[in-house]
Amino acid sequence: MSAEPGPPLPQPITSVKSPFRMDYTYVAGAGRSVFLRGLAERKLLARRCPGCSQVYLPPPEFCSRCLTELEAPFELDGRGTIATFCVVSFPFPGQTIEAPYVVAHIHHHGADTRLMHLIGDVAPDEVRIGMEVEPVWVGEDQLTTSMTSIRHYRPTGVAIGSESTRA
């Protein structure tokens, strides 16, 4: 077909900005709020299921297995072992920490669930599954009802597991 009369076609552009943004309100719920309020007081509050005895940290309001309301919160001392971890080496948009850094699932002593947090004060290549860690709390003026009340976890220097426990 012949071209239409008139000015020439513009040069095609090759890409457009197509940002995606969703604004939510996160509602913690009664159970999670107990845990978050504990963080503002440097307390890690766990709760036990009266039905199956599973200890949750962080605890919801009801046992995810029994659907039973959990017992009264009690404090754990914060120490635990690294159940698994990931070294984040790549930058990505919105990243607030400079790579490389370590994110781990921490299995607290006395709890049956895991809690995800940063591992610090140790070189990423020295982090091991089974390593015992403890929380490093932020200063008094920065404590709040958020996981950010814990800056990161650091090794206690005590080896609980061994190399053979690495996946």
Binding site: P12, S15, K17, S18, F20, M22, Y24, Y26, S33
Partner: protein, 145 residues
């Protein structure tokens, strides 16, 4: 005890790569020119697409359009953050003159839904600052009679 709550935003800064037909359509918007694209059977589609949604065949030449059309369907909405207009408006399907199908965009009737009707004539209102994206068409507005 009451539940805690906090704002929570999920955001991805995507860039979308576009093909030659869509790229020309968008570049046209930047120049305040509206283009459709020729599809098999002589139909003209606007906005332009790379492939005909009916036959999946590659589309053909770009066709410049006058930027006027007829509202075929609309719904009235309250304005929200991020919307193209600061007051209440209609989202509408506009059958652009010289095209087949319809074009989805906002219609500005000054916040008065009584001025909206199916079959009304509308035209493109271009943004002052245009960058080569669909938002370069600020909205459609009624054609003065």
């Amino acid at each position: 005890m009451t539940s805690l709550s906090a704002p929570y935003t999920v955001e991805f800064p995507f860039d979308r790569t576009v093909g030659p037909k869509v790229g020309t359509f968008l570049a046209g918007l930047r120049e305040a020119r509206l283009f459709g694209v020729r599809a098999p059977g002589g139909r003209v589609l606007c906005p332009a697409v790379e492939f005909d949604p009916e036959t999946a065949e590659e589309t053909g030449e770009l066709v410049e359009l006058a930027g006027e059309g007829t509202v075929v369907s609309w719904t009235w909405v309250s304005t929200r953050e991020g919307d193209p207009l600061p007051h209440d408006f209609a989202w509408a399907l506009v059958a652009i003159d010289g095209t087949d199908g319809s074009f989805f965009h906002a219609v500005d009737v000054g916040g008065d839904p009584g001025r909206m009707s199916t079959g009304m004539r509308v035209r493109v209102r271009w943004r002052e600052v245009r960058v080569g994206e669909i938002g370069d068409i600020g909205c459609f507005e009624p054609v003065p009679v």
